[in-house]
Amino acid sequence: MILTGKQSWVFQNDLYINATGTAVGPKEKDGPLKETFDVTFDDLHCGEKNWELAERKLMNTAIETCIQKLNYTYDDVDFFLAGDLLNQNVTANFVARQNQIPFLCMFGACSTSMETLALGSALVDGGFANRIIAATSSHNATAERQFRYPTEYGGQKPDTATATVTGSGAALVSKEKGKVKITSATIGRVADYGIKDPFDMGSAMAPAAAQTISQHFKDLGREPSDYDLIVTGDLSGVGSPIVKDLLKEEGYNVFSTHNDCGLMIYRPDQNVFAGGSGCACSAVVTYGHLVEQIAKGELKRVFVVATGALLSPTMTQQKETIPTIAHGVVLESVEVEG
């Protein structure tokens, strides 16, 4: 039975991340994980005429890098699952127009990275595909304009605000043996604790992450100590302490095993307020740094929980609260077997 417990999948076949591709912008290049990214751009425009084209270039670059590592072409991939933060998911849709891989567009805000990876793995596990690519992207200038204010507007940001990561991450999943195994996934429920402030998404998303993590433990009968690392997507400096406290109330102590991609990708002195956010935040940290560590065996079992704030500017203007979601995928080092 693949469905395990209430909302988790334990994959029946051995599924692997065969290759990943990451492309990031200048600020991420300047950060502590710079060595782990495949392609870095010195300019936020990435050599393109506008921000949207720049984001598309990032996603295209990430996917191309990913399949080139395996000497594949687009034809070798059965399905392409992707999403981003722009209206109507234009980055993913326009990239799919170009690469012509049969395409499933998905939106889970910043949880899209693990949403696409989980569903893509399920497709492969169920025999609906042999190889899939899961990809997502975000761009600082496009996302800030989409969800907050255009940066040219010069609105001040409070310390609880996060900085959208410029980048894109892609992963190719198949049953062909690789170094990083995908073993299970937990699909989240939408949580809403009544936060209205789009400048405090960390607080808004923390309950969704806590919900998914505790449900994962219950569904699989596991403990936090079964993991080397439980990493959330972009809760940042504000949401991370909240998720740890919420899980403690549920009887799960993750104080020593939890980290957040939003805190890993930048140095605190990079003017990023509470930390990094955006689809690319969890994607480039997971498909860069974490996959590298897992492949080397330095991390044996990692639970990546990507968190998404499902708001839109119109809903914010109508004074709605922010619904949030978190999806988690378990990645394991192949050496852990036996």
Binding site: H45, N140, A141, Y149, E152, D197
Partner: protein
């Protein structure tokens, strides 16, 4: 002394704006419109002109003076042309400021590329 008064008064208006942004959690656009309306209301009571006499540039530079100018223009228009004059006069005093904003934005957009 004149400069000091202007600096302190203009600065205090900005302090109020910053406090509103930090503690009331309203958007920058709300603060701006609030200030414009405040300037217009104060002018309606004849207070803003006295404030300008006292603070000089400290009162004319902040956005509150835009409200003051709007009202002055509207009143003048109303005196000359009646009800329709309100609409005609409203932007008379402020038009050079608005035109300058459009012109200089255009020129800047021609030369520079946004940095994000």
């Amino acid at each position: 002394m004149e400069y000091l008064i202007a600096f302190v008064c203009g600065g205090l208006i900005c302090v109020v704006g910053q406090l509103l942004l930090d503690f009331i959690k309203i958007t920058p656009a709300h603060v701006m419109t609030l200030f414009v309306v405040t300037g217009a209301v104060l002018d309606g009571f004849g207070l803003y002109d006295k404030f300008i006499e006292f603070a000089g540039a400290g009162a004319t530079i902040p956005i509150t003076s835009f409200g003051h100018s709007l009202l002055h223009g509207a009143m003048k228009g109303a005196e000359e042309h009646g009800l329709i004059g309100i609409g005609m006069g409203m932007f008379e005093l402020t038009s050079s400021g608005i035109s300058a904003a459009i012109l200089f934005s255009f020129l800047a957009a021609l030369i520079f590329k946004p940095k994000g």
